[in-house]
Amino acid sequence: MTEKINTDDANFVEDPRYKQCNREALLGLGLGIANFIWWFAWGYGFGSQPVEGYTYILGFPLWFFMSSIVGAILFTVLAIIMVRKYFRDMPLGPLEEDDLKELQEGGREHG
């Protein structure tokens, strides 16, 4: 959503942290949607057949085991991978000169 609107002021420089912030927000959104699809597909995909035909894993019906138990664990692991690998540290307060330079140079890991 970084259309040209409202940046008609030539001196306007956008906060360099936002690019990464937007990317992280999209990752979170993507993970949420993937979580929904996993839950829905396993839950209704295998749960919609007649109860007599159910298969069981560890005592749970397959649809429940995959959608709600494996799904919960899988997406917890994915959330951990998401923040460990793709979320970057950055200062949250007002930017100092050298913070700014570092961020504009593409940003290394920042304390």
Binding site: M1, P16, F36, F87, G93
Partner: protein, 490 residues
């Protein structure tokens, strides 16, 4: 009091003593801050000087959005509806990572730029409109007073049922405790007690679930027992397919999974953490704890069906607990649901106070802000007293408001916060249009077409209010260049 069960009561009392201790510990920070100039006091009282670490952030977030609903009503519904309700409850799973990732660092950075201590502060700076501030603040005050009152009633019933004291005594004991620690300790007391409560809930849930599985002879035999009672109990459609239809169950992803971002008690936490490491750890702990609590509490309700027959709703957790454990252990475990209620109520109280003191008084009436501390305490006590008195005999208006509280708050905040944060073009007209359309259409749908196309009532109003936001924004001028610079500039 003659038939009060002392062995259940004593652990509960000990628990409350710890809660009070946390309140008094936080009071030291509040007292120190009350000497600060201007809005410095509110910075401590309403957001704890933005000092939350990752673990506390995760615990307070989870404890806040898991209310009595998921902790007392949820297991009750799982008892009645079996695995279908556990399946439904898992829609809340993303909240652990979704809220913090989507509001993310950007919300924290912007909050620091404009020195916001409430979500309304954010809306005020972003849309720069007095009427909007008033509407939003009043929505917070009214909806929260109603919601708090409902939570008080739930907690008092739980104490009444498990300890055996009269309803009024239970209400006084519980209500006054929550009010005291919140009022004296502010945000810091709220997040610290939330953390304790989160830990208690997690341990309690795990213990009860393990005990239930052992008592039932393992998962396979419990599931077969459920199958014998009613095959619907192990199907995603439940024993009552008209109730738990596919579209309706899937709607909960919107109601409790994604739109939770719009609840001010949740969004406030996304502006109060210390640094980006807190955010990372907050997401990790929050997701793990959500998973344990959601699965554990609801499975407990569903499994309980095979052990104790003919229970209704709110009594499932207390009954199963007291059946399986010696009374003093039950006392500790029952602190879990009470903790869920307390940690929800305390943040609602604080936000209602924030709406009055920060959003209306400091922003609009007295911008010089003197005597903030005094006014804050007085309004906290007044709001607390109103909620407390209303819980003895809830007036009609309050019952009605509570019915619409969550949907009303989500409609008020969701799109104005999200679009205000990520869309430069978003403007005041859009925010107004989305709030009016959201709340208006929700009430209309609720009255005339409660399950449009099979979905939960909240789904269409949220889509309509998004559309209204975009249309009204494009029909009116761009927001002021000054605002864009303040929010997006360096």
């Amino acid at each position: 009091m003659a038939d009060a069960r002392m062995d259940v009561l004593i652990p509960l009392i000990l628990y409350f003593i710890v809660i009070y201790a946390l309140g008094f510990y936080s009071m030291r920070f509040v007292t120190r801050a009350s000497h600060r100039e201007g809005t410095g006091f509110l910075h401590e009282y309403l957001i704890g000087d933005r000092n939350m670490g990752g673990f506390v952030l995760a615990m307070t977030l989870v404890a806040t959005y898991l209310s009595a609903g998921s902790f007392i009503g949820g297991p009750g519904a799982a008892y009645a509806n079996g695995l279908s309700w556990v399946f439904l409850a898992m829609s809340q799973m993303p909240t652990g990572y979704f809220t913090l990732a989507v509001l993310g660092k950007k919300f924290a950075i912007v909050a620091r730029k404009i020195n916001a201590v409430t979500v309304t502060d954010f809306l005020k700076e972003r849309y720069d409109n007095t009427l909007l501030v008033v509407v939003v603040s009043l929505a917070v005050v009214f909806f929260f007073i109603a919601a708090m009152s409902a939570q008080f009633i739930g907690a008092a019933r739980l104490i009444q049922g498990s300890v055996g004291v009269p309803y009024e005594t239970a209400l006084a004991f519980f209500g006054i405790s929550v009010l005291i620690y919140t009022i004296i300790g502010g945000f810091r007391a709220v997040i610290l007690t939330d953390t304790l409560q989160g830990i208690v809930m997690t341990i309690g849930t795990t213990m009860v679930l393990v005990a239930v599985i052992v008592a039932g002879g393992g998962v396979p035999s419990i599931i077969q027992g459920m199958l014998e009672i009613d095959p619907g109990l192990i199907s995603p459609y439940g024993p009552n397919p008209e109730l738990t239809s596919m579209a309706w169950v899937a709607s909960f992803w919107i109601l409790v999974g994604f739109a939770i971002v719009g609840l001010p008690q949740v969004a406030t936490r996304a502006m109060g953490y210390k640094d980006s490491t807190s955010l990372k750890n907050g997401i990790i702990y929050g997701t793990v704890v959500s998973m344990i609590l959601l699965l554990g509490m609801h499975l407990l309700g569903a499994f309980g069906r095979t052990m104790v027959a003919d229970l209704t709703g709110d009594l499932v957790v207390p009954t199963v607990t007291t059946t399986l454990f010696p009374n003093w252990v039950a006392g500790i475990i029952l602190a879990g649901p009470l903790a869920a209620v307390m940690s929800t109520v305390d943040s609602q109280l604080l936000l209602a106070v924030g709406a009055i003191v920060n959003d209306i008084y400091a922003n609009l009436i007295n911008t010089k802000v003197k005597n903030t501390a005094k006014i804050t305490f007085i309004s906290s006590i007044v709001i607390g007293a109103i909620v407390f008195i209303a819980s003895f005999d809830p007036p009609e208006l309050m019952v009605w408001l509570n019915l619409y509280a969550n949907a009303g708050l989500i409609s008020t905040f969701l799109w104005p916060v999200i679009l205000g944060l990520y869309w430069k073009r978003a403007n005041t007209a859009g925010a107004f249009a989305s709030i009016v359309t959201g709340i208006g259409s929700y009430i209309a749908f609720d009255m005339y077409w409660a399950r449009p196309l099979g979905f939960h009532t909240i789904v269409l109003p949220l889509i309509l209010s998004l559309a209204a936001f975009v249309i009204a924004t494009y029909a009116t001028p761009k927001p002021d260049q000054r605002i864009i610079k303040k929010f997006w500039g360096i």
